[in-house]
Amino acid sequence: MEKLIKLFISFFKIGAFSFGGGYAMLPLIEEEIIKVRGWLTTTEFIDIVAISEMTPGPIAINSATFLGYKVAGVLGSIVATVAVVLPSFIVMSILYHFIVKFKNTPYLEWVFTGIRPVVLGLIAAAAVSVAKSAFIDIKSVIIAGLLFYLVSFKNFNAILGIVLAGLLGVLLY
C-alpha cells in the first residue's frame, strides 16, 4: 500500500510538471523513479522508453503504465496511469471553464486568432522532428510521399494508412 501511494505521488508530480508533452516527461521520470526512488535501473528505463515508442499511445502514458507494472504489478500500472493523467484532467477542466466564461469577450478571440498560426507551425515542426529519425533512406521518403498523397488528395483513411505503411515496411526492408 505504501508503495502504491508513493507511486501515485511520483507520477502525479511527473504529470503535473512536464510541459511540452511526452519526451519532456522522460527526464522527470528518470529523476523520480531512478534517482529518487531507485525503483529501476537505467538500462530497464531505456528499454521501457523503446517499448513506449513502439506501441500506440502517448509515450508518457505508456511509460507510466509499464513502470507502474514493474514496480507494483497490475494495480501499480493502473495507479501510475491514473496519477499521470490526473493533473492534465484538473488543469484542462479549469482552463476549459475559464475559456467558456470569457468566450464572449473579444480578448479571448483575439488571443486565439494570434495563436492559431503558431499552432499550425508547431504541428508542422513536429513533422520535421519525426522526419529526422524516420527518413533513413530513399524508401522511407517514398513511403511518406505516397501516404501524403493518399491521405491529402484521395481521402484515404489515416488509420488504414498506418496499417498500409507497416505492410510496406515489411515488404521493402
Partner: protein, 177 residues
C-alpha cells in the same frame, strides 16, 4: 453519444504511434472531418490550450475536446478512451511479450510506420491550412514558428504566449484605427 465518443477516442488512442503530435491527424479525421463534433478552428484552439498545459498533448487535447462535445462526462469518456488502449497494450507487453522485444519483423513494420507518421502530420497541416483560409501574413507566422522550433530550442509555450499577446495588441490597434 458518450459510448460513441469513447469508441472514437479508443480508436484514436489505439492507432497513434510516435506520441503526441501523431495523434493530431487521427483526431482531425475522426472528430472534425467524419463526426463533425468540432470545427477546425476549435480544434486548433484545443491544441493550443493542450500544448500550454502540463501533461501529454494528446491526452490534453482529448480532455478539452471531450468537454467541448459533452461537458464533464464527455471529458471523462474521452480520457478513458484515449488512455485505455495504451494501458491494455503495455500491460500485455509487460506481462507476456517483454522477452520478444527484439524482433526483425516488428522492426520492419516500424521502418514503414515512422515515415508514414511524418506524412500524416503533414497532411493534417495541409488540411488545416486549406480550411483556415489564413492570409499570407498568418502563413508567414506559421512558417516562422516552424523555423524557430526547428533551429532554436525554444519551448513552444513561449511562442504560444507571445502569439496570444500579439493577437491582443494587433487587434487593439486595429480597433482604434
Amino acid at each position: 453519444m458518450l459510448f460513441s465518443m469513447f469508441i472514437t477516442f479508443f480508436k484514436i488512442g489505439a492507432f497513434t504511434f510516435g506520441g503526441g503530435y501523431a495523434m493530431i491527424p487521427i483526431i482531425q479525421e475522426e472528430l472534425v472531418d467524419k463526426k463533425k463534433w468540432i470545427d477546425d478552428d476549435e480544434f486548433m484552439d484545443a491544441i493550443a490550450v493542450a500544448q500550454g498545459s502540463p501533461g501529454p498533448v494528446a491526452v490534453n487535447t482529448s480532455i478539452y475536446v471531450g468537454y467541448k462535445i459533452k461537458g464533464l462526462p464527455g471529458a471523462i469518456s474521452a480520457t478513458l478512451g484515449t488512455v485505455l488502449p495504451s494501458l491494455l497494450i503495455i500491460l500485455a507487453i509487460a506481462m507476456f511479450f517483454y522477452q520478444y522485444r527484439e524482433n526483425a519483423i516488428i522492426d520492419k513494420v516500424f521502418l514503414g510506420i515512422r515515415p508514414a507518421v511524418v506524412a500524416l502530420i503533414l497532411s493534417a497541416v495541409y488540411k488545416m491550412m486549406k480550411k483556415s483560409k489564413f492570409g499570407y501574413k498568418r502563413l508567414l507566422i506559421s512558417l516562422g514558428t516552424v523555423l524557430i522550433i526547428v533551429f532554436f530550442s525554444i519551448s513552444p509555450i513561449y511562442l504560444i504566449i507571445a502569439a496570444g499577446i500579439g493577437g491582443i495588441v494587433y487587434n487593439k490597434v486595429k480597433v482604434k484605427e
